[in-house]
């Protein structure tokens, strides 16, 4: 018998399935990925979600409208203030009520502080995924300062129950404006510091530039929103494009991805966009704390929320993208149905597309750059 020479042409190969998660340090929670491999190359990635499905929508059907607010917090726990803003705006539009000026300003200040805090976690843990430990500590140091501001205001560090439909639970504490100003002055140099530490690091750029490129067409068709969409080059920010609250009064820019170190829409773009967005949030905050008027904050809170039969879909730009609430009322004290369009849920769908053809090690880089929160994916 002639012995066959093993060359790459007659060698029998087989695809391998690799399981990642639900316990894995880089999945940002409880996500399971089923990765199909051809050698080192990824053929397909199938995310399995639902490990944190906490029945949010069922709870909504059993609770009155104000009772839902704490559950809304627990959905996107990195940006709880913003979830509350979204819910409050939705219920207010359903009822057709206006809120006082001061409340709008407080909401914007809280929302933008929360955006910075959330992006800090995103950036810090992204560095951790790529292998840079120090930026994580820097980010958490600054996030801790924001949490102190929140704690002063409403007594909680993470889940606030502060912004209610029609107002906020109580006014800002006396020192708040001064401390926020102090924080902003301290924080601006940190962005530069972080940039020097992480963004322009050669190793970091090598790991993220030209990896996981998301073309604009695909992004829109998959419903990707937030920094991920903007990194692909579309100037689409609901703060401008579908205005809510009083964002139209402020002067800020909407950054888009430019392919600074590679192609438009790669991981580095998505990462760096968050850095620029933090700068813009600082800009909005500076204007807002200058302009905030005096006034009452609880006067518009309705005693009893009982909308007439109807339905509404409203959306706000939360740090991860378009957060939408679809509320159907049948005229009772409880909503008939609440469905949440969670930005992470929709953004995660793109993962399979992005990973195709990359190496196994890039899965972590791509997943981190999408910045998901599992509480929101599974609700």
């Amino acid at each position: 018998m002639i012995e066959m020479e093993t060359t790459s042409t007659n060698l029998r190969t087989q695809e391998m399935v690799l399981n990642m998660g639900p316990q894995h340090p880089s999945t940002h929670g409880v996500l399971r990925l089923e990765i199909e491999l051809d050698g080192e190359l990824i053929v397909d990635v199938r995310p399995h979600v639902g490990y944190l499905h906490r029945c949010f929508e069922k709870h909504c059907e059993a609770m009155t409208y104000p009772q839902i607010v704490p559950y809304v917090d627990r959905m996107d726990y990195l940006a709880a203030m913003y979830s509350e803003i979204g819910y409050a705006v939705a219920v207010e539009r359903l009822l057709g009520i206006e809120v006082p000026e001061r409340v709008e300003y407080i909401r914007i200040i809280m929302g933008e502080l929360q955006r910075i805090a959330s992006h800090l976690v995103a950036v810090g843990t992204y560095g951790l995924d790529i292998g840079a430990f120090t930026p994580f500590l820097y980010c958490f140091r600054d996030r801790e300062k924001i949490l102190t501001l929140f704690e002063m205001t409403c007594g909680a560090r993470l889940l606030y129950n502060y912004i209610w439909p029609g107002g906020v639970s109580h006014d800002l504490p006396p020192d708040f404006i001064r401390m926020t100003k102090e924080f902003l002055t301290e924080f601006k140099p940190t962005i530069v510091e972080l940039n020097n530490l992480l963004s322009y690091n050669k190793i970091f750029i090598e790991r993220t530039a030209n990896v996981g490129i998301l073309p604009l067409e695909t992004a829109i068709n998959y419903g990707v929103t937030g920094p991920n969409l903007r990194a692909s080059g579309l100037k689409w920010d609901l703060r401008r494009d579908d205005p809510y609250s009083i964002y139209d009064r402020f002067d800020f820019e909407i950054p888009v991805g430019k392919g600074w170190h590679g192609t438009v829409g790669d991981c580095w773009d998505r990462y760096y966009l968050r850095m620029i967005e933090m700068e813009q949030s600082v800009r909005i905050l500076e204007q807002a704390i200058e302009q905030i008027p005096e006034g009452d904050v609880t006067s518009a809170i309705p005693k009893r929320i009982k909308p007439v039969e109807g339905q509404i879909y409203t959306r706000v730009e939360n740090p991860r993208g378009e957060l939408g609430y679809f509320i159907v009322s049948k005229g009772g004290l409880q909503p008939h149905r609440v469905k949440v369009r969670a930005p992470s849920f929709v953004n995660l769908e793109i993962l399979g597309e992005l990973c195709k053809g990359h190496l196994v090690a890039d899965v972590v880089a791509i997943l981190g750059s999408i910045d998901i929160v599992l509480g929101e994916v599974d609700r």
Binding site: V49, G50, H53, C55, E57, K58, E61, R93, L94, G96, T218, I220, N221, Y222, G223, V224, L234, W236, D241, V308, E309, G310, Q311, I312, Y313, R315, E322, G324, F326, V328, H336, R337, K339, R341, F345, V346, E349, D378, R379
Partner: protein, 175 residues
């Protein structure tokens, strides 16, 4: 920018039988579409240059709870008959108009068409609607449960008459 009424006229002229009518659910207006026509209607909506609805914002399944309520001896209740609905909120990033479509299917035979080929992001939304209220989408590439465990056999949790099981894989479920 086009209003819902204008789009309704366009659709009515093109697909007369398949468009049922406009329902007013303040502040939104809904265009009701027949289940077996939703795919071609949405394909038209995305391809027509004047409409160009390229973004599916949200797709939600809901239990209308409009059947006859029958009480069971153990204190629970059940809805017999009635409908399940799927609501589509779509918008055009170019023309900046929005539209709400709705499909209602009978609860006994909740079958409608999938729109994954039109908007790719409908994939997970439809799986969720199947998982939570039990609407079946024909031509969906992979219609399996998404949030609940794959072997969950106690029904669809977001139906109004859903009853939770006592045990799941040996673990007690109620408090």
């Amino acid at each position: 920018m086009k209003t819902t009424e204008e789009i309704f006229e366009v659709l009515k002229n093109r697909y007369s039988e398949d468009i049922i009518g406009i329902t007013n659910m303040p502040p939104e207006k809904i265009i009701d579409v027949k289940p077996d026509a939703i795919f071609k209607v949405s394909a038209f909506l995305i391809n027509d240059p004047d409409l160009d609805f390229d973004n599916l914002m949200i797709l939600s399944g809901l239990d209308d709870a409009n059947g006859t309520k029958t009480n069971q001896p153990d204190g629970s209740f059940e809805f017999v008959g009635g409908t399940l609905s799927v609501v589509y909120h779509i918008e055009s990033t170019k023309h900046r108009h929005k539209l709400v479509l709705r499909v209602s299917v009978p609860k006994e035979n909740p079958v409608t068409e999938s729109v994954v080929k039109v908007w790719a992001c409908a994939d997970w939304h439809e799986r969720e609607a199947y998982d939570m209220v039990g609407v079946i989408f024909n031509n969906h590439p992979n219609l399996i449960r998404i949030l609940m465990p794959y072997d969950w056999d106690a029904g669809y949790p977001l139906r109004k008459d859903y009853k939770n099981p006592e045990f799941y894989q040996g673990m007690k479920v109620p408090y």
